[in-house]
């Protein structure tokens, strides 16, 4: 089982308390009525399926209830960091496996 650090609870907890919630930093169009069908298509359906460091959302659903973001290496399945929703995406070059 993975251990995941919740940045709101500030505790490292078993994976079963969390749910995965897809790729992070997918921005809804700021002016929805100006977005084209292609924009909506990309927003709703297109994801990167990264091999390596993937920025993704998780939710501490059986705990504080909060969504947050994580960087996880999809090859090793190790978390590099987790951070609060709304915080900027960290530079992957600064992240190391096992770091919090």
């Amino acid at each position: 089982m993975l251990l995941i650090h919740c940045p709101y609870c500030d505790e490292t907890l078993p994976e079963v308390e969390f749910t995965y919630a897809g790729e992070a930093h997918v921005m809804r169009p700021e002016d929805p009525s100006a977005a084209t069908d292609e924009d909506w298509h990309a927003f709703l359906f297109l994801r990167d399926n990264i091999k390596g460091v993937h920025f993704e959302r998780w939710r501490h659903v059986h705990g504080c209830g909060r969504f947050f973001n994580a960087a996880r290496n999809t090859i090793t399945d190790r978390f590099l960091t987790t951070y609060r929703a709304g915080a900027p995406r960290p530079d992957p070059g600064t992240l190391t496996e096992g770091g919090e």
Binding site: Y8, E11, L13, P14, E17, V61, G63, C64, G65
Partner: protein, 184 residues
């Protein structure tokens, strides 16, 4: 309070050398969500709302636990629920929040005895040692979201939604007997 066909009335259900399992008298329960004006809201409710997740505070027979960054649960004597709701409503215009009576939702299971913490490992994914006496957490127990109150080293309460209570009571009953049946 509503009686539920599959949930026994308050009282002790099983007591072994390991632990005792019981159901508490049904308290009043309130769910509070608020982002700002916590000081004023706390003053209105008469509770210094804890800001740390898992932290608890209270007055008289009223208890509050912080469940998330903007979420608390309050337990009170059932007859005080209306007064708490009114206290919240009185400051609502200045400090918008959500304060909802959820008294009909959950059963509280009391778990205490020398091996109570060990008994909880039957369904708790996290280490009970991570929850200090006097604290609590919303967490996960054998497939359900529960609110766990650690009242002492060997005393716990677990709030579970009614529909999960028969299953969890059965599991805890089995665990109580198993631990007590172990060779010394």
């Amino acid at each position: 309070m509503t009686a539920h066909a599959d949930i026994p009335p308050p009282g002790t259900l099983i007591r072994t050398a390991a632990a005792r399992i019981g159901i508490t008298a049904a308290p009043g329960r309130l769910s509070l969500r608020a982002r700002d004006g916590l000081g004023a809201l706390g003053t209105a409710l008469g509770i210094d709302l804890p800001g740390r997740i898992g932290g608890r505070a209270g007055r008289d027979a009223i208890e509050a636990m912080c469940l998330g960054p903007d979420e608390w649960v309050l337990l009170s004597p059932p007859e005080e629920v209306a007064a708490l709701l009114a206290a919240g409503a009185a400051v609502y215009a200045a400090h918008p929040h959500s304060l909802v009576d959820i008294s009909g939702r959950e059963t509280t299971i009391a778990i205490d005895g020398p091996r109570a913490a060990e008994l909880l490992t039957l369904g708790l994914a996290r280490d009970p040692a991570g929850i200090a006496p006097g604290d609590g957490r919303r967490t996960y127990f054998d497939g359900q979201t529960v609110i766990l109150w650690r009242d002492g080293e060997t005393r716990f309460r677990m709030d579970v939604w009614h529909s999960f209570a028969p299953h969890l009571l059965g599991l805890l009953d089995t665990g109580c007997r198993e631990l007590a049946a172990e060779a010394p």
